[in-house]
Amino acid sequence: MGKKKRGHPDVEELLARPWCYYCERDFEDLKLLISHQKAKHFKCDRCGKRLNTAGGLSVHMNQVHKETLDKVENALPNRQGLEIEIFGMEGVPEEIVQQHNQRIVTNFYTAQAERHAATGNPPPGHSGGQGPAKKIKIETPDEIKRRLAEHRAKVAAQKAAAANGGAVGIPTDGQSPGQVVSPFPPPQPGFPYPAPAAGAPPFAAGQPFPPAFPAGPSPPPGAATAFNLPARPPSGAPPSALPQRPPYFYNGSGAPPPGFSGTSSTVDELVAGASRQGDDIDQLIRMAEAGIKPAKPAAPAEETGEKKSKKDKEKNTRMVYGDTEISPEEKLALLPSYKLVEV
């Protein structure tokens, strides 16, 4: 079959594009990237001078303005650090590169699967014999809402189960108590990718669940929605279109993260882990693009606070400490280890 590009760049081209460590944007060539970094991330907000690196800017701020630079401007929340010296594509940590590539590949295959589903064309190399031609199933808003509600309920149930079951509950894709306590974002668990039948094509959305996935006990919510999905925009849950890649771990050491044991993890966990991996960074990027500062409002002005709190009511927020009458100290004081020893 002749190759028709149809304006879709192939995955190698996408992977070859230079991209910015600080905001994950990619560029046509390195020159553009460097000028982007100078303008967006290494520009002095006092005098507008454009420096080459974060370190350069820091020295400049120190010497010229007698101020300390504490973070890189316009960077994604977890990429604001000054410890890493970035210039163009130089200095990007290996695990971040892998994470980025993973994201590109994931998005690419999601988009490809969507195109195949939308056009009804089989993926390359599977002309016919793949099953009946795909029908585009269009969900009504009601159906989508219902499905969302089901998904939410499932998540809630799993959370409740995990909470009741304590530390050794069902592995959910929710946060474990330990993770919630941690001020860091979920620690990017280093789940390897499921490697079912290496070389198998990424199955298109809408296809039946590929047999390579053993039917595990109750799929996690992320996966549950994804598997029965018709074509959906990539903002949905992309795990179904995850490409097959050799397993590797994100923690950079190359060793499995603590708590991971090759045999005990179900495929469901792996898929959930993989989907979260993708979602994290994607979400950060989406938010950054929309100009949303995730951590805090930039200006705590009353007017904006008012508006935001109205918006907030629709947004579900989860309080880490929700007791409105009893302070944490009072609870601590009840623990046996802090009991007063009467003399």
Binding site: M61, G174, D279, P294, A295, E302, Y321, S327
Partner: protein
């Protein structure tokens, strides 16, 4: 690379810490802990040069501490239900008063020589240190106090049910010096009674060093700034804002994870303030310009306490394991860390209202 100006202090307390407080005249740092000890550190010429000077053992966890008239005098409050004066040079302890429940806060007002303790028994004990023989005066509160702070002339007590009482310190001092304890107790009334601007349990209170107002924070990732002056104009200036939040992952339904704001402290020189939250971050705010000035790199755990040195050069940051709803088996032992940040000359200086 930016020159690192933040150092971890060796030999931190071994358990949860509620307060870090600098001495009025030196760079001594007092840190009471739930490990039943109070620690005294001294910062030398730089943040790197901070060391443990002494530690004082108690029979119960200590929730709060403050310095007294000089750098050698301190007061502590704890689960032993006692308010204790301690001589930091000799370690000698004197019990000043006993509450019927653990004592949550203790505040000293050097201007009026008053020591005020707030206990979960729902009372304040006001000690007139100018007349040490006088027994402390008990003032009943309508709720359990959770946080307390004093400015040069006002005392702000934040309680359950979102109650905030503001007392006028000069009039308390006058009442104490002119009448007997019983008469004084009857005459002490709050100067103002307010409802918290925040909808949730108050976590911390801090007063502006210029005596103009105060800031409160709640368990629900929010900080409010208010002014004392009871005019419509001043009250219209008050505001609240969200902070110390994180976006939850998509598969959990998105939304925000909201952390308690555990610590607030005003910069003694510039009048800006720092907040520390359960998300492990510390942010510097300009109350006048309503702007965030800085946010520091994440700390490994929940920020439990903050304190500026009297000259504003250092910021002490205490980090402990975070609290969370439903944590019955909380264990913060060995997770406490104490950091000292040396601030640049203008690091905490606001840019003024726009």
């Amino acid at each position: 690379m930016a020159p690192s100006t933040q150092f971890e202090v060796s030999q931190p307390p071994t358990d949860v810490v509620g307060t870090v407080v600098f001495a009025p005249n030196s760079n001594k740092l007092l840190v009471p802990s739930w490990d039943k000890s109070v620690y005294l550190y001294e910062v030398g010429d730089s943040a790197e040069d901070a060391k443990l000077v002494n530690s004082y053992e108690y029979r119960a966890p200590i929730l709060d501490a403050c310095f007294g008239a000089d750098d050698n005098e301190a007061f502590t409050a704890g689960l032993d239900r006692e308010v204790t004066r301690i001589d930091l040079s000799t370690g000698e302890k004197t019990t000043l008063s006993k509450h019927s429940e653990p004592v949550r806060c203790v505040v000293y007002s050097p201007e009026h020589r008053l020591l005020i303790s707030a206990s979960w028994d729902g009372t304040l004990h006001i000690h007139n240190l100018a007349a040490p023989d006088q027994s402390p005066v008990t003032v009943a509160l309508p709720g359990k106090p959770h946080a307390m702070a004093a400015s040069p002339s006002k005392l702000v007590v934040a309680m359950t049910a979102r109650l905030v009482h503001i007392y006028d310190l000069p009039s308390i001092a006058t009442a104490l010096s002119n009448s007997s304890s019983e008469a004084a107790a009857a005459s002490i009334q709050p100067w103002q009674q307010r409802e918290s601007s925040l909808k949730f349990l108050t976590r911390a209170v801090a007063c502006m060093p210029n005596d103009a107002g105060y800031a409160t924070s709640s368990i629900e990732g929010r900080v409010a700034v208010e002014w004392f002056e009871d005019t419509a104009e001043s009250q219209a200036r008050k505001y609240a804002f969200k902070c110390h939040r994180q976006t939850a992952p998509e598969e959990e339904g998105g939304g925000d994870i909201v952390y308690p704001v555990n610590a607030l402290t005003f910069h003694p020189v510039y009048g800006t303030f720092a907040s520390g939250g359960g998300d492990g971050t510390v942010a510097l705010w300009d109350a006048e310009a309503k702007r965030r000035m800085r946010q520091y790199q994440k700390f490994p755990d929940s920020v439990a306490a903050l304190g500026f040195s009297r000259d504003g050069k250092y910021l002490a940051i205490c980090v402990c394991a975070g609290f969370e709803t439903g944590m019955e088996n909380y264990d913060g032992k060995g997770k406490t860390k104490l950091f000292l940040r040396e601030l640049g000359e203008t690091e905490a200086k606001g840019k003024g209202a726009k």
